[in-house]
Assembly symmetry: D2
Homo-oligomer: 440 residues x 4
């Protein structure tokens, strides 16, 4: 998590202020539950809220840090500092609980908050993608497989494809959020020996979580692994969109360009350059988000009821992966929303191959005219190779090939070279992606 690739709202989720605030809420709600059970006095719970419910300022955080420096135990440091505010009743705080009850539930809350923010990011991205998709629904451009011109598509289809993919990612993240949103207050080995399961249920409900069905001091790490794996998939989709834009912006293609702000200098050496640095950066950020996946999976196999090897990993990847992905989604949204398209270049590229992109259609027409698939292929290929060699465009070549014109009348042949043929189902695809009323 480095400032350059952080946004304040996500960074705040991982700040000590928020962490201690969540710890406080867990402890205070647990006191309420214990009071309801009669385990601790109702006045004690009340005192915790009345005297403890205040922001974690820099001073308070420093005080907690000082105590931890001595005790080397973070939760004891926290409750000790809390006791300095709450007073004698503080001895009822944390009763029957173990540190992990607080730490793990807090992490679940933070990861849920982070997921909510990422979902918001994705909504913004989806909106931008939809806008650009509708705007360029029929902006016909060259489709490419293997980097080689294939058949026409539309710019709108590209945006719509990213939209469909990000929509799937949104559902994945929703499920990962649901999976991580559990609360464990089950004691030192998860048996509720010293605490009634009601406390867990109560705190869970207050915090919008589900009780963890079976915890073992810790919430099982398969949940976290799913979460980070989902971030990895989302990041890979970000990389896909970024890669597309990088390709479209390269000098020889130049169908699109990242927005270039006034004051910005592209290169100290080559002032004319407008580099797709934002999408290149997104490519790198995707690698960074993905690198959390394997450690998160290695974290699953803790020893017996728990070991703490996962903790340092999560301290790092928790903030890093969510902050980086938040930044990446916002940056991609900005790039998409402001992407400059160059219609002339799009059209120039479309025509570059002399109509070779229509060869598949000619092939089909020949087959339908009764020519065997192999012969059709041969006929198209020999003309295509001439076009490839620079002898002219495909329509001219075919017109001059008697074996072709013997099967397909000239008029029919010309009709095959029609862009509308390639866009006739775009609306059907858009309906699949955006629903029937998307254009309304």
């Amino acid at each position: 998590m480095i400032p350059r690739y952080s946004r304040p709202e996500m960074a705040a989720i991982w700040a000590p202020e928020n962490k201690f605030r969540i710890w406080f809420l867990i402890e205070a709600h647990a006191c309420d539950a214990q009071a309801k059970l009669g385990v601790i006095p109702a006045d004690a719970a009340k005192a915790v809220w009345e005297r403890g419910d205040k922001p974690y300022t820099a001073e308070r955080i420093a005080r907690i840090d000082d105590i931890e420096a001595v005790t080397k135990h973070d939760v004891i440091a926290f409750t000790t500092e809390l006791a300095e505010h709450v007073g004698a009743e503080a001895r009822f705080v944390h009763q029957g609980m173990t540190s992990s009850d607080v730490l793990d539930t807090c992490l679940a809350v933070q990861m849920t908050q982070a997921a909510d923010l990422l979902l918001k990011d994705m909504d913004a991205l989806l909106a931008a993608l939809k806008t650009r998709a509708l705007e360029h629904k029929y902006t016909v451009c060259m489709g490419r497989s293997h980097g080689i011109h294939a058949e026409p598509v539309t710019m709108g289809l590209k945006f719509a494809g990213f939209h469909a993919e990000m929509q799937r990612n949104r559902e994945r993240l929703l499920r990962a959020r649901e999976s991580i949103a559990t609360c464990a207050i089950s004691g030192a080995v998860g048996t509720f020996a010293n605490i009634d399961p009601f406390v867990e249920e109560y705190v869970a409900e207050q915090l919008g979580l589900q009780p963890e069905p079976l915890s073992t001091q810790v919430i099982p790490r398969d949940r976290h692994a799913e979460y980070f794996a989902t971030l990895g998939v989302i990041a890979s989709s970000v990389e896909r969109a970024a890669t597309e834009i990088r390709h479209l912006q390269r000098t020889e293609v130049r169908e699109a360009e990242e927005f270039f702000s006034k004051g910005q200098k592209g290169s100290s050496a080559m002032p004319h350059k407008r580099n797709p640095v934002l999408t290149e950066n997104l490519t790198g950020l995707a690698r960074l988000v993905r690198m959390a996946v394997i450690p998160a999976m290695e974290n699953v196999a803790l020893w017996h009821e728990r070991d703490i090897s996962h903790s340092s990993v999560e301290r790092m990847i928790g903030p890093d992966a969510t902050v980086t992905l938040d930044f990446a989604l916002a940056r991609l949204t900005n790039v998409i929303a402001n992407l400059v398209l160059y219609p002339e270049a799009i059209e120039r590229n479309l025509n570059q191959m002399g109509g070779l992109v229509f060869s598949q259609r000619v092939l089909l027409a020949l087959t339908q005219a009764g020519v065997s698939r192999e012969d059709s292929y041969r006929l198209v290929q020999r003309n295509a190779m001439k076009v490839w060699g620079g002898e002219g465009d495909l329509l001219s070549m075919l017109t001059g090939d008697e074996e072709v014109t013997a099967r397909i009348p000239l008029d029919t042949l010309k009709e095959l070279f029609d862009l509308g043929y390639h866009t006739k189902n775009v609306d059907a695809i858009f309906k699949r992606v955006f629903g029937a009323d998307h254009a309304a």
Copy 2:
């Protein structure tokens, strides 16, 4: 995919016989759809089924390979061989389609089949885990955090925990299966320029798939990435259970042992050794399944409408990850079902620490008796340290500590050292995991 770690049913999914069979089904159903649309003669579609619907024998596969050796194109080799059986009508096969329509839809079918088999594996594992969980619901054993004795749990809770985790994995895999089960027959760049979307819808329905909303010659690879990431999470859960058993079997613990068959020799050098080789092996297999995750994510960012860099990756990880996980799940099921538990060792370990494991309860009792948390901690700690130093068991030490007995009467003190205290909520946890009627 090496024979040692393969099971025939999963290996068969990835064998050429099955692959070509699926290709045939895609092409033949597509012919039916094209016939319904009037694009090709109904007789042609009929001929494909009548003369082409037969098993892919070793001979046929060899023939396809021979053709591919010349054409260097697998689908053309396939359709050419098919034409040798179907005859002239074969020219209507594959009409308007592109190779990826066949390849990608086939891969989706194979991954769906593999998921179904893995789900079956997981059901068997879940059943074994439930059986052992119920059997040992109240087999009290030592719970450990950090590898250090903590408080009592039960062996049943361990199995139940793995069950709950594997149940979550089952849901993840169901969703990944749903996500991968799509059909793309949309042509060279996904625009349906040369083929009606009806064909895709028809074939999808026949094969139990959903039409891919927007394909770009290929099915988007975020779906595959989710799938392999899910396998990685499942494998990590396998590793967790395996690690637990490896720990329980180590000489000093020896609470459990993998089943040791009669003829088996543990070691050429040390005939007494019974090594947890199956679970050690599972630890390694987990690494192998996980290693597919990052390449699958790297596959997402294909260039433009597609490049073929993903293909070699999927040829390897498709079979490898599913075959390995299938083997691992079956092996783990076998290990769980036949795991030998040693009640005497379990009890011996339980008592090893002289009752230190009850210290948390004593701590709580002191707090509830009005001692401050810090003082309670100090009181328990000073007695615990004596036990740790070998001076006797905790109950004796506490009994001899007047500062303690001043707060807790002797009778109450003794009652704190009761295993039933630790198991009182086991049933509640089992209800969460297995439902209310699990013991019925």
Copy 3:
């Protein structure tokens, strides 16, 4: 390791024939050493060689497999089968040794053999790269950063860069080979309790290995981790070269093309297409080689003196990573050696940007003429933006900018637009990469 991406020589290293052959050599040499020490009769060692030194045929391998199916122990199966040939003296075989002595030393031999083959592959690749580098030393082409035209380079420099990188990789692999080439015959926990260190030293020398200074039943896995990490770096370099070619071949660039064999069909749908499928494939293969790295590192932390979790991992990644990289290096060599370059396209692209690529030089000239860096930048940028906008080429624009011509005389300005300026140090760079006499 799938046939499609395997070459026979590398596959043979991992075949049972070779494995059992190495096992035999280890055992037989160990017998010699034991005989020299007087631990076993000299006749016994002689008998092992005389009656046991024969190829491992399919029949022998099947026999070993049958025995292993019963004993579930591979080395016992091996020695049992060997005894069937050697007779009574076979009881002296494997004396004082443990299975890992054989298995780990064998793996070291196989990994050394694989490294030797990969080094040979790299030599072939280096030769091809050097040939193409010298051939195109002065084929000036556009250099690109961020995919955007920058300043001229030469095609030879591209090849030379890959050469320099692969040369470094060669050195890395040599070191990894040296690191893995150790022999462990130290008994069950590495103490030489039952065997004299002389045996290890003797066998090591016979097999061209170093004795492992300290083994713990197994050779420490940091050696293997280094090896697979090195393969991962090499694969990444393969991907870099492949990515360059994919870019050069894309339709809009088309400066280079993979060799296209006569019978080959590029696409069933678009017969004109010549896709860079070999280099796309190499991109995927790089991912496959890299995926071995993390599991190999996870293998390092074995429990105590050893656990067997590494074994399944190595059974898979040992063959897979080396076979795949062998195939990839050979494929890349073939692609490089036969790469078709298109001089006209190279020149067309070079001139595409209207001379903007000379802007850096103009910038420098202005600075040297006493203009401040910021003003120089501004002057060049305003003209560059006009060129970018399509108003003409840079030289014309500058010529028409009086603020520029006031500082740089027209003649000097023209001289700045000279390709020779960019190639003047190519020879110096070639000398660094290929040595002073490379052109001789």
Copy 4:
């Protein structure tokens, strides 16, 4: 890079102060070289040193940040700020150079500095390991394979093994340091079009680097990949040592314990617990260091002469991986140096298996007494199984087995149960690891 796992010296390498200081040195040395070449006035170079050679204070850094916020270009921001100190002569700074010349060379310097610090860390760790190895050279303890008691080893051998491994890692890091220590000042595409190669050579020499033979605006990323892969191997070795200690500390084994400071509280719930939290933490830190490896390899395949996707990755993993490993090495050194060993527990465990660990030796003695390997195995196994079943120790069982005593006289049998037998080659192994004079 989070404070909890950072040490100041390594963190300082990655701080802006150090980065800008290195940038300054590169630019200033380059000015000297350009002055020597006559490209810029000697006075200009002198002015840069005289007026620019001062620390980068917080104020200066803030100023640079402010400028970058406008220009969105870090190196321009840097040179602009520098010009505010140097004055008019600043226009000669950065002449003929491109940003990457500064950035990449700076990164090389930082990675070299980081390597030097890590080498120092490793030296401290090696010293601690050697001390403990010599101290416990003959502290006989149980050796374990598969977590199961095997044959005796010594604690010293464990430390010596980690020493040998870390020594290999030291050599790997030395080579990685050498590999990364290159300087590139070659201009926008690496052709030295605008700058004489002498500048690169001169600056390289001043900074203790080698000139990069062939750069393409950037230093090739295979160097960085090797570097991070090496860190990954080292981290894995750290994990291995940490895992050993975690095992030795678990309650049932308890042969060793991390040092437990006075004020430290092990657990809020179980005051008796002394958890191996430092080594558990090291296990997690190893995962964090390893996660840099794959992104570093993905960084290799930059597009054409460079793209900037690697940059964000390196901004993160550069500091993170080195800071984390520095912290981990120091923590491991501390753990090793202060590790508490418990001789009584070591001995108790040694005897736990009733002498079964001597079975291999008995097996050998039987073979040498003329019994076939299979019969010997059977004889030992049947007695071993009785011991395993709790009927007594192995020596008693064998003494009572007439088939055994018929072959081995009682006296000889007893002599087989001698620990000295297992330690007789420890000195030879120590000589291999520490050299002949290690004990002097």
